[in-house]
């Protein structure tokens, strides 16, 4: 084992001849928080979907702790230890906030009372406990983003994929989320890979950043290195809102 929790090895995906992702490789070490950034339409979410089992890569492989997970169904990828959120949030609208998270918790805790207790605990951590009996569809967007994180965490993943969970949050809310994720990572050693446009959050959280543009990896390095990287600056010129 290479010590990497997640290894992407030359993965690629085309849709009807259109190349969405081409030959992307990078590792995420166990216990790290890394970020995946790039302009809109660069293929970030496609990469997430290949890791999470929504798409099968046309080329290359995805390994979790040395075990190949590419080609597995999403529920089996979850089983292997990958939790994910959706960029366009997908709450179980008709169910309460608590039931939403309970569904995630049931994955490793088949008994309903235990799963519900565990879910309530996670909601407490994310500050959603007061709203646990509300229907998920009545939540505001920031709360829905939090609910996405809570539901993914409830599956007790080894690797958490966060797809733009800061988008739409106010600066103070971003700080709360950043602190929560740092704390979670420190306490449990959870490995996190995040797609994010909010540079302030990326810089605060990520120890390593991968940059993709037009489906290809164009740079990788520490936040300081990326901030100085010429290719990245070219891509981002006038693109990302400065944090």
């Amino acid at each position: 084992m290479s010590g990497a929790r997640l290894e992407l090895d030359g993965i690629g995906k085309s849709f009807r001849g259109l190349r969405a992702v081409h030959d992307v490789s990078f590792d995420v070490p166990a216990g790290a928080i890394n970020a995946l950034i790039g302009p809109n339409g660069a293929g970030k979410t496609t990469i997430f979907n290949m890791i999470a089992g929504v798409y099968r890569p046309d080329a290359g492989s995805v390994r979790l702790d040395g075990r190949q997970i590419s080609g597995l169904r999403p529920d089996l990828v979850c089983d292997a230890g990958v939790g994910r959120t959706f960029q366009i949030v997908k709450p179980f609208k008709g169910l309460s906030v608590l039931e939403n998270v309970t569904v995630g918790a049931l994955h490793r805790r088949p008994a309903l009372p235990e799963a519900r207790a565990y879910a309530a605990d996670i909601l407490m951590q994310l500050g959603l406990h007061d709203r646990r009996h509300q229907a998920a569809e009545s939540l505001t967007l920031p709360d829905r983003k939090r609910l996405e994180v809570a539901r993914a965490l409830a599956t007790e993943p080894k690797l958490l994929l966060l797809d733009e969970v800061m988008a739409g949050l106010r600066p103070t809310e971003i700080d709360v989320m950043v602190t929560f994720l740092q704390e979670l990572n420190r306490r449990t050693g959870l490995t996190i890979l995040l797609i994010e446009h909010v540079m302030r959050a990326v810089m605060a959280l990520a120890s390593n950043i991968v940059v993709v543009s037009y489906g290809e990896k164009i740079a990788e390095g520490t936040p300081a290195e990326i901030a100085r990287h010429q290719a990245v600056l070219d891509v981002y010129l006038g693109e990302a809102e400065p944090a």
Binding site: A52, V54, R73, P74, D75, C78, D79, G83, R84, F86, K90, P91, F92, K93, G94, L95, S96, L98, E99, T102, V103, G104, L106, H107, P110, A111, L112, A115, R116, H133, R151, A152, A154, T155
Partner: protein, 332 residues
């Protein structure tokens, strides 16, 4: 005791008392009601039972089936055919009947779910299979073809062969309806039940949190088909005749969906309340239209009633009743 505690957890005491009272009333009802009253109550229980079975598919797992007559028809025909041709009683034949319906459900489900048909498309697939089977039975000699299959009407009570008067059929359908009610409660309060609700709300998100979507949907259609087949067997022996034209008709499939939709989709009491409302309205309208002697008038009243209900109580009658009278579950 733990199972009982799990089943009743979070239910307000007044609901439990109400439920107990309802069961007692149903048990002694035949002594209180006349022949007509009993026949109406039998219909209510039948539609509550079969509605409950359909509700598992649509209300719980979110899969719209408009072809459930297929399972009732297959079940009824097989049990009746075994009895008619070989003298095999329905208590044994029911196992074959249920197995066949589950097999049919598995085929429809596997094809539909494997090819990711959802919503209206899945509903049309279920209609197509049901209609396909109807025409096949029209031409199948063993099942009597389009001329139908008739069971001998026997006045003597023979419980072993499910032969007897309305009283026998009343208690059988009561047992089925009550048993299914408890089963549905148990299913809802289980991991599988919660997975169904998650699939109903958003299959992609469900799969991302580890829900084996295909397997859960398959279990839903198999349980639903099995229960619907039981209703079909009961129906065949209660009415003593079977015709493909009615057994597999789309109208029959639609009949199965009405009680849960009108009562409240996905709720345990929805199918029961819906069955009471629909059967009650049906009886009232029958009486009304007999006054005027116009065929079709009953159905017009019926259509108007459906229209009013769907316009003013689109989420069903039961959630509204539960809210008003505090029968709903407590938040935990």
């Amino acid at each position: 005791m733990t199972l009982l505690a799990r089943l009743t957890g979070g239910v307000p005491a007044r609901s439990l008392w109400g439920l107990g009272l309802l069961l007692v009333l149903l048990l002694v009802a035949p002594a209180l009601l006349g022949k007509y009253g009993l026949s109406v109550l039998i219909l209510v229980l039948y539609f509550a039972f079969v509605g409950q079975a359909w509700n598992i598919m649509m209300g719980f797992a979110g899969q719209l089936s408009l072809g459930h007559a297929l399972y009732a028809g297959v079940g009824g025909y097989i049990a009746a055919g075994l009895f008619f041709h070989y003298g095999i009683g329905p208590w044994a034949g029911v196992f074959v009947a249920v197995a066949a319906a589950v097999a049919a459900g598995s085929i429809v489900g596997y094809l539909g779910f494997r090819f990711s048909l959802a919503g209206v498309y899945f509903a049309l697939l279920t209609i197509a299979f049901s209609e396909f089977t109807r025409i096949a039975f029209d031409h199948w000699g063993w099942a009597g073809g389009s001329g139908g299959l008739f069971l001998k009407v026997d006045a003597t009570s023979d419980i072993l062969n499910l032969r007897g008067g309305p009283l026998l059929f009343y208690y059988v359908i009561l047992a089925l309806a009550a048993g299914t009610f408890v089963l549905c409660r148990a299913l809802l309060e289980s991991r599988l039940g919660r997975y169904w609700l998650a699939i109903r709300e958003d299959p992609e998100a469900a799969q991302a949190v580890g829900v084996p979507v295909l397997r859960c949907k398959m279990i839903a259609i198999m349980i639903s088909a099995a229960l619907t087949a039981l209703a079909g067997v009961w129906n065949a022996f209660y009415y003593n005749n079977l015709f493909p034209e009615t057994a597999f008709a789309m109208g029959r499939s639609i009949e199965f969906t009405l009680a849960p939709i009108i009562g409240g989709l996905g709720t345990l009491f929805g199918p029961i309340v819906g069955a009471v409302v629909l059967t009650g309205l049906g009886e009232i309208f029958t009486d009304l239209s007999e006054v005027f002697h116009i065929s079709g008038l009953k159905q017009i009243f019926y259509g108007l009633a459906l229209l009013v209900i769907v316009m003013y109580r689109p989420a069903g009658v039961w959630p509204w009743i539960a809210d008003r009278f505090g029968f709903g579950e407590k938040r935990r």
